[in-house]
Symmetry: C2
Subunit: 355 residues, 2 copies
């Protein structure tokens, strides 16, 4: 298949292709009066709703590796990580602005593949792709996504409302994204090894990744928990604090405790870890609970609710109660399976500048 | 002076420093209920106003060169180029989200210098820095800025409302940014030449740039024309179409004509070019009118108004009438100083992918 160089269609030709891929996302958001094609996107807000805004920058070799990441998955993930921040406010995403800086090696088809992933994810979340910026990059691919969301003022959930005695809840299961990353890094090492030795990289040397698909999907194609936000709204549950888990459970729990001025006690035995994550950890001789506590990019939600609301979530298998909020002097602790208390300040998440 | 490595203060230490620099910008925008410090910024919109949203990505070696760009100027410019898009809608900027990816060579002080420039510009524009994202970069510095603005629905100005017979207006003077860029590139070449020959680069070999300060400021420290938006609102003038000049007058005029389905005729003799730009063009044996037509990054406003409104702008020296809107079959032409008509489709602006 002959690939088309971007210079053949030019900047405005590329923008036309992007606009065509964004177009199907616009129907869900009639309040968006103008998408791509003017100096700004135009939105008609409802004065009754609060707006929430978030942005994330994804940089080649820092946040992703194109050797192990399909472009449509990357596009989808770039949308999902931002929607996850909107979900953490108990809000609904409405529109996105997407900027990309494109390396010289990219063809038109590669850019389209990236936007197909974004457009697909946006449609899933009922979100319009409303504008952005395209430019060239001298090094790797750069993606910047900003998403605006909305929520009724009384439903808004910040990080600072947890109170001692409340329940600490987490959605889905943890550690899967870390398991997926470890598997992909192992696979990449095998691949590079074969390249270096001029050996063909074919199916005979490829690990069968099918059995690991759950973990790999957690890493490459995470889903923001908008379903949980819909569930919370449907049951009229308003968490007292909420955050999404992008830097590991331990780090996010510290954010909630610091901003709410509380402590916390969580129980190892209650932290949801899937069977497939445990199996990968066993195989790689690594520790699933450490992945769950420190693994980034989970995009599950961590939140607190009053004890009285327990019965409202009790029957919903996607939410696990993992502990309770304590007073600030008690610190932030994990009670392990032997009942030993471990100070979670010693177990940290990812720091971009590697302190 | 000992510079502080970012790993010494870590990601959250850096965010604290950034939040402190953003803090003074918050006072101007009481509708911003929460800035940096949660998963999202929180904003209380007025249901009476439309919202406009824009984003720009600035990439090292594509949009700027740190050899010739002071970091606080770069920070200011990153804000201004986005405010310029808000101005092009006849709207007022309200809050910004700022993401940066920081190369390993950067110290804490360099990041602070960048944000000082952003904070200073934001205060000038009455704009709050409300949040963002920080990460590391394996290559150069990357800055992504998104700005949200507001405008009364009846004042909103798009690109598509120009009608034959209307006047074409431009603010300030053109060509200065291109002149500044040419001067900085000449200066950089001299600098690199000295480095290569191991000669010290000191004042004796430095061109005295003071006499070029106007052009260099156009390039390094452009100002968005929020003053023009304020003027238009104060006189109750609502342009029928408007765009900011980021890719050259010729390219922007084509955008207005294509989206309004009109032609245009502008007059070379009426295009405002400053004396200093003409002087630089003479010195570099280049052509000031070409710079004015194709030079990017001017951040002046190009707009159309009905002829009857001429008297409302006649006395305001920052606005020049450069031509008139024509019917679509007439094309987009420049009448040169000899009265010859030149098809502006042959004179193009910047294309990121160099078709």
């Amino acid at each position: 298949m002959p690939y088309k160089a971007i210079r053949e269609i030019g900047e405005f030709g590329l923008i036309d292709k992007i606009a065509a891929l964004a177009e199907p996302t616009l129907q869900a958001v009639p309040e968006l009066l103008k998408g791509i094609g003017d100096d700004c996107a135009i939105y008609q807000p409802s004065g009754k709703l609060l707006q929430v805004a978030t942005t994330d920058l994804l940089v080649d070799q820092v946040h992703f590796d194109l050797l192990t990441t399909p472009l449509n998955h990357l596009g989808s993930k770039a949308i999902s990580v931002n929607v996850s921040d909107i979900c953490a406010m108990n809000a609904f995403p409405r529109f996105a602005l997407v900027s990309i800086a494109i390396p010289p090696s990219f063809s038109t088809e590669m850019v389209e593949e990236l936007y197909k992933g974004m457009s697909h994810a946006a449609k899933e979340y009922g979100l319009a792709i409303a504008g952005g910026d395209t430019s060239s990059s001298r090094s790797g691919l750069i993606i910047s996504v900003t998403i605006m969301g909305e929520v009724e003022p009384e439903k808004l959930t910040k990080r600072n409302g947890a109170k001692p005695g409340e329940l600490i809840c987490v959605t889905g299961s943890l550690g899967g994204a870390a398991a997926g990353l470890k598997l992909l890094m192992r696979e990449k090492a095998i691949m590079l090894d074969h390249f270096e030795n001029n050996e063909p990289y074919n199916k005979s040397v490829m690990a069968d990744l099918k059995e690991y698909s759950e973990a790999i999907q957690c890493q490459l194609l995470p889903t923001a928990r908008l379903d949980i936000v819909r569930f919370l709204h449907s049951r009229n549950i308003c968490p007292t604090s909420m955050i999404d888990i992008s830097d590991g459970l331990s780090s996010e729990l510290h954010h909630i405790c610091r901003q709410s001025n509380t402590g916390a006690l969580i129980h190892e035995s209650r932290i949801p870890i899937s069977a497939s994550t445990r199996r990968v950890a066993d195989e790689l001789q690594d520790d699933a609970i450490t992945w769950a506590l420190t693994g980034g990019e989970e995009y599950q939600l961590l939140f607190t609710i009053p004890k009285e609301e327990y019965e409202l979530i009790d029957d919903y298998k996607e939410i696990s109660v993992i502990g309770e909020v304590t007073d600030p002097d008690s610190g932030v602790f994990l009670s392990d399976i032997y009942g030993m208390r471990i100070d979670l300040a010693t177990i940290r998440g990812f720091d971009h500048f590697g302190r």
